[in-house]
Amino acid sequence: MTEKLNPTSKKHMVRFGIYMVIYVFAIMGMSALRGQYTDTIYIWPIAFMPVVPCFLALLESYWGVMAMDEMMRRVHLEGVFISAFATGFVTFTWGMLSNAGVEPFELALVLPMLIGFWGIGTALRKRAYE
């Protein structure tokens, strides 16, 4: 996919990937440290750890898409639309099912789900222009 991107977009997408890797490590770090530090002074920074790389990844993805040419930008925005629709539908359905006793949806999963559906939606929409 990246060979179709211009150098600027490629740079942003590589950075996006790096921040997502850091995010995964931050999640693992948070899980490991959470049980060991129960003092309020530590709880907040530990809980906040994954938010920083995630925010940076989102910024990079935005700049990456904005640096694409007009058709690729359109493809990605259509992918984002599909992602928003799918994520909204899944979380809404889950919310309704929680009335029937299904465990509440983990809110921290919303963003990874959005990003996952964005990838799927973009791949689907890209085919329409080939």
Partner: protein
């Protein structure tokens, strides 16, 4: 919308990548425009018009 970009590009001996480079877009975008799967924006259509020295309405037809 149909267009004659493939012919114009061929007349100039350019590949899709070379044309895309001159216009600041990807080869995939040129390919999609040539196949009529993507209609370019007005600024890009003007760039094509300027590059080939033809009015937009001669390059693109309904």
């Amino acid at each position: 919308m149909e267009n004659i970009i493939k012919n114009l590009r061929g007349d100039n001996g350019w590949t899709q990548g070379e044309l895309g480079e001159q216009l600041g877009v990807s080869r995939q975008t040129i390919n999609a425009i040539e196949k009529g799967k993507y209609d370019p924006s007005l600024p890009l259509a003007f760039k094509l018009s300027k590059l080939f020295g033809m009015p937009i309405e001669q390059i693109f037809t309904d």
